[in-house]
Symmetry: C2
Subunit: 365 residues, 2 copies
């Protein structure tokens, strides 16, 4: 593995869209006692369902701690690889490398700086050193070269690519005080373009209400093809989310992508607000003296937080009346893929959803 100090774009690399062909997918086994209630048992079952759905059409690699290897190996089917790696939690999207690809089909990883979504300003746990080392180590075991971008704080969940030169991010996240406060918006945009081989960055103003990642884009909006996105949507004007969705819609309607296209925007309903239950809070063990969740806390649930595998859309279900409608919409938007809905409350409680716990590895030579 070479550790590269050049920039992917100048080397002819760009970030493919998630809907392009994958070689596989990386996930991380849930274990952290202040993230996953009651010994992570329910979360592990949900992670297994996600892994199995993805493994139908791509290789799945589940990373886990030394201590959890036997448990993960027991709970997962044999065609899913289990590989030891120390991490601080289970958010593969944010701590694994972002892979970029060149015209002849080689891939390389990007090792961004990771500081638990805000470091000492508003990060979600401390320390985060194991997470911050994961991307490079994944490239090492996959035997792929890696770009050293550790001086730039970024998570995989805060970027989307259409594979044709357009990126999508949120201002609330990328301009947050806990990430790269010394860089201007222009400097951040420049870095994104240089690293991800893009020409245009779409800056949504915000994401999902109470999303503790400073509102990652992958919870509110996603490309489904070049030129088309799905946007989380609510019709409830009393909900603080309403104004956030409105602002995002207006922004997207005003923009063109790198290819000069106006965007086609498909609204995807949000579920009714979902709140932490007292019993769930009691299942969390406080590691730093303060609770990670409180009874009645609203969780940042969204159907947009799905994973696009080679043959499926793996999306959350919330036992909500909108589950079926959201599934139907995605079935129409992805006619060549089946849509698999997985009960995801036990993932949501941890602070994210199916897109947050997965990271694709593009097909490559």
């Amino acid at each position: 593995m070479r550790i590269l100090n050049t920039l992917p774009r100048e080397d002819g690399y760009h970030m493919p869209a998630e809907f392009e062909q994958h070689w596989g997918c990386i996930m991380i086994w849930p274990e952290r006692a202040d993230s996953w209630q009651y010994g992570a048992v329910a979360a592990r079952h949900a992670f297994c369902q996600v892994a199995e759905a993805i493994a139908k059409s791509e290789q799945v690699i589940m990373l886990c701690s030394f201590e959890q290897y036997d448990t993960a190996r027991e709970m997962l089917p044999e065609h899913i690889q289990v590989v030891e790696m120390s991490t601080d939690d289970a958010w593969a999207r944010d701590v694994c490398p972002t892979f970029v690809k060149n015209d002849v089909g080689d891939i390389r990883g990007i090792d961004w700086g990771f500081n638990a979504w805000g470091g000492l300003v508003d990060g979600l746990y401390f320390p985060w050193d194991k997470d911050n080392k994961a991307a490079r180590k994944i490239c090492d075991f996959l035997n792929k070269d890696v770009y050293d971008q550790r001086d730039f704080i970024l998570e995989g969940g805060s970027i989307h690519s259409d594979g044709e030169g357009t990126l999508m991010v949120t201002e609330s996240c990328l301009l947050s005080a806990g990430r790269n406060p010394k860089l201007s918006k222009e400097e951040i945009e420049k870095r994104l373009k240089e690293c991800l081989g893009a020409e245009k960055v779409l800056w949504l103003p915000c994401g999902i209400y109470q999303d503790e990642t400073n509102e990652h884009v992958d919870n509110i909006c996603a490309f489904i093809t070049p030129g088309q996105v799905v946007l989380s949507w609510t019709e409830d004007k009393e909900d603080p989310q309403y104004e956030m969705c409105e602002k995002s819609l207006k922004y997207l309607e005003s923009q063109r992508d790198a290819q000069g296209r106006k965007l086609t925007i498909h609204k995807l309903p949000l579920p009714q607000p979902i709140y932490m239950r007292e019993e769930e809070c009691r299942g969390l063990i406080h590691l730093n003296g303060e609770p990670t969740r409180v009874d009645g806390e609203r969780l940042a649930a969204s159907y947009v937080n799905f994973y696009i595998s080679n043959d499926s859309i793996v999306m959350p279900a919330f036992q909500d009346k909108s589950d079926a409608q959201a599934k139907e919409i995605l079935e129409k938007l992805f006619p060549d893929r089946s849509v698999v809905q997985i009960p995801a409350r036990d993932i949501l409680i941890g602070g994210g959803n199916i897109h947050c716990i997965t990271q694709q590895i593009p097909m490559h030579k």
Copy 2:
């Protein structure tokens, strides 16, 4: 990774000889404070030299703890992979899987039971659970099926294969009280044949004097081609090693291999006895209250403990007058390979040598 409960021989698999083509080699980064003097600094430099010599003609994967990843990555060149894996020490030969191969070029691993060379009877450390889990986890990350043989205690250093149906072991090791005391010699032989796809087992009586592995075969004798072996040798009749070599020679002269061939035996001189120095002992930190080495202790040095890579013989040097002669003999016996000699006292102090810290992965589809 499928975990198989069948037997390799009945599935059409056998253990190739080490001198057949390799895909790569696994090593483990030294760290243990009661094995490696003065923070393992000198040992790490020696391990790096071994890894680099092998990496000239095969892929080398260096396993290391989470804590040592950055150090290993810094000390090793970029074309060597560094992969996190928890182990109890650095003896890849004995804790990694033994790979077997079938006629169409597929490989599988064998996961033997490992109990630190004798468990609670005369094992060398406690606990050994991380080591015992390594073989299966290596198969998992290589995505190769694994045979579950954990109920049978065996180390890779205690077996040699000529790739044509003949195995070589020592009685002192395989019949030791700390390994499989409930199995008779016949039962052990049957298991070896079934697992390694062999027809004949050569039982050398013993190995190298004071070899704390109960005298592994890989320290006294090795196949160089089918029908030919090198045997460690001393002419010093005062040395307890003399009688051990004599017995081994007589045994080998009396035997035929699986193909019915008499063996051609090439003597390889042993270095002069090598003893622990007081300063070296002071560099070891006792982890279980008792010293692992004492001043003046004789070490089990042998030139036979070499690794056969695709293009080289990677062998130890001991700053001994026989270094050059041993190198010359191997150069003649391996005319198609270069012989690389690496100063190995810092490996020897840990309790083994170059063959003990390496495990080949055969070339495969």
